[in-house]
Each structure stands twice: as C-alpha cells, then as structure tokens.
Point group: C2
Chain length 186, copies 2
DNA sequence: CGCTTCATTGACACACATCAATGACAGTGG
DNA sequence: CCACTGTCATTGATGTGTGTCAATGAAGCG
C-alpha cells in the first residue's frame, strides 16, 4: 500500500469502533487480537471474525457510511488505521494501487471459499488430506507447516487432539511422511 | 456490470476450463451448478467451491495468467462468460465499475469470514442462533428465510435433519417463533 | 392420481470433543 | 547450573452430539 497509516494502541477490552459509528477507514492488526462482534436484539452476541496480526479487517467500511459491527481488542493490541478518504482517493487515482487492492480482495475471496468448502468435509482424515493437497507446494506433494500444529488445527476446524491423532494415523498408514516443519504426501 | 457477456451451455460433467489453461475471464452461473476442483499429485481431488445460480466464480483469474483449478458442470448448466480483456479494460476506464467490483469483493470477504467463524461453533443450537442473529433484519429480531430449509442447513454446515430438530427444539423452548418464511427471535 | 421433493420425527452408531495425564522443550530466575 | 514454570505435542479413556439410515405425511406437478 502506498498509504501511511496511523498507529493506535488498544488496551484489552477497549473498543476500536461500535455499530453505527461513522466509518473512519479500515485496519490491519499489528499485535494482539481484535474481535468483530454483532449484537442481536436479544442481547446475544455473535463473533463475526477474530483478526490476528497481519490480517486486515473492516475493508467494507470503505463503501459504507457506518460500521455494522463492534470492534474490541481481546488482548492488548496495536492496529494500523488506514483513513477512508485517503484509501478511496487512492482507489480513484492510482491505477496500480487500485488493481493491487482489488486483486488482493479477489484472491482472498477464493481463499475463503476454499476454506469454507473444506469445512463441509465431515471426516477429520479427509478434511486434513484435502487441506494438505490444497496447500501442497510446487511438487504437489510437500507441504510446509508454518507455525504451530495447534494453529493448523484451528484453521481447518479441528481440535488439536484430533489433529495429532489423525496425523499419527496417516503416518502409520504411510499416507504421509512427517519431517521437520514439513509433511509429504505419498 | 456494463459488460455484455457471452452465454455458454454446458452438459452435465462437461469441463469449462482446466488447470493451466490461459485465463479467459470470469463467470456467473445462470443455471445449474459448477464445481471448482483441484487435483493433488496423488490424484485426490479437492472441491474448492460449488457455484450456484447468481454466483460469480474465477474472479481472481482477472489477475492471473492461468487457471489454478478445474471447472466442471455438475448438472446441465448455463454460464455467462465475461472476457478478461474487456473486464480489465473496464476496470481501467470506468471509475464506477471498479468501485462497484471492489466494494462487492470487500463485502464478500466479510461475509465469508463471518460464515467461516460461524463454523467454529460446534453446537448446532448455538451455531443456528448465531446465524439468525447475524441475519436478522432491521428490527434485529426477524429473519427472512429465502429458499429451502435444506439450503439453509447447507449454508450453516448442518444436515437438514439436525436443522429441523434444532428448529423444533428452539420453538418448543420459545427461543424462536416460526412464521411463513420467517423466524423471529424472542 | 402416481411421482418427486421437502419437511419432519424416530432410532442408532460412531466420530469427534472433552477431560486427563505424560514427556519434551524453552525460557526464567534464584 | 538447576529447580520452576509454561506451552506444545502426544496418547488414553470416556461420553455425547451429530450424522446417518429409515419411515411418514404434505405439497407441488405433470
């Protein structure tokens, strides 16, 4: 982005914006976690998304007048704020930046749809294999595991225990091979 | 869109494009269903997305040289084809069109993230209630059910039977009230 | 009227979530 | 340098919620 954001610190539990507030722009998490929640008439709250470091949120606020959910810091957090007016002006004027942003959104849409379709696979074994196939590198067989296994478990919608078990089972059946930070399909 | 697409008929099982093909553009389903699948080195296939009438797919192909998955018609289908070059030219020249497209992508990103977060709720009862809260109309209590209940079941990742049961249970507990095509939270 | 699909309810089994315990490992502080 | 602490990875035991199979009624449709 050719934009220079302002940085904002948030204490745990602090509110970044609330439903009905005039939109100020979109944000990127630098540190901590930001929860986007919506409250129903019954008072029941629904978590729409939990943004983690590196993730962008409230993008649609660029095209709306008010926010449609609340944003609260789960833990002590730092966020980069990209003002709406500047971002929109960039979309209007800067051809390269505009295509970048549009292309990035398009790529995210496909990624998210893949992730959602993956969740439709009930079996832990099949879901994990499908994820590995989708994440496989150039050779189509090797998958790099970046980060913790428990985080992988969360991204594919399994509990860590089930993931560990399933990995062990697949390895015992020689369907995969586990290396340091990598998994190879066989 | 100010674009006039070409229409294409597909027989059940017919392939619209395959992995590695040069990108021709993006598509909108008019009738039928189109499956986007990826094949792993092992031959295992992974369904990335099933596009239904009104849904757009292969948007990211506008920003890539080749397709990264196969598109096959599940049933006899009709798709509208929007050529890449024209679409990109329109994005360059027509400010309104590109803002529309970007806004639509941004909205889809948020919707998909909400849908994905919803899937993290294990309990059928809680997941359904969260969905209803998120979908509630202006009064925050009334949800219009467009389409079949079994389709609702699919979108929130439940089997139809479980959805029917959960709805009946919630109504018996007076947590919701069911009307003709509507559900009201109480 | 058959035929099809949807909505609904019942019965049952199993896969996954949950709780619990252990070892490995890194970081920390005395 | 060594207890101490915390987190992650791993495996075991157990229960339950959800999926699955099955049957029925209702409604739309040719």
């Amino acid at each position: 982005m050719g934009l220079k954001p302002t940085i904002r610190q948030l204490a745990a539990g602090e509110t970044l914006f609330a439903t009905g507030d005039a939109t100020r722009g979109f944000f990127v998490v630098r540190k901590g976690q930001i929860r986007l929640v919506r409250f129903g008439a019954s008072g029941r709250e629904t978590v729409l998304f939990v943004a983690r470091p590196g993730e962008r949120f409230a993008e649609a606020s660029l095209f709306a007048g008010t926010y449609h959910c609340d944003a609260q810091a789960v833990t002590e957090s730092t966020v980069a704020c990209f003002p709406k007016t500047e971002a929109l002006a960039m979309l209007q004027n800067d051809a390269d930046a505009r295509l970048d942003l549009t292309a990035d959104f398009a790529r995210q849409v496909m990624e998210l749809r893949s992730a959602l379709t993956l969740r439709d696979i009930r079996s832990a074994r099949e879901r994990l294999l499908a994820h590995l196939v989708a994440q496989a590198g150039a050779d189509g067989r090797t998958v790099a595991i970046k980060g913790l296994l428990k985080d992988l478990a969360a991204t594919i919608g399994l509990t860590p225990e089930v993931l560990y078990r399933t990995l062990a089972q697949l390895e015992a059946q020689r369907a995969i091979q586990r290396g340091d930070g990598t998994i190879t399909l066989t």
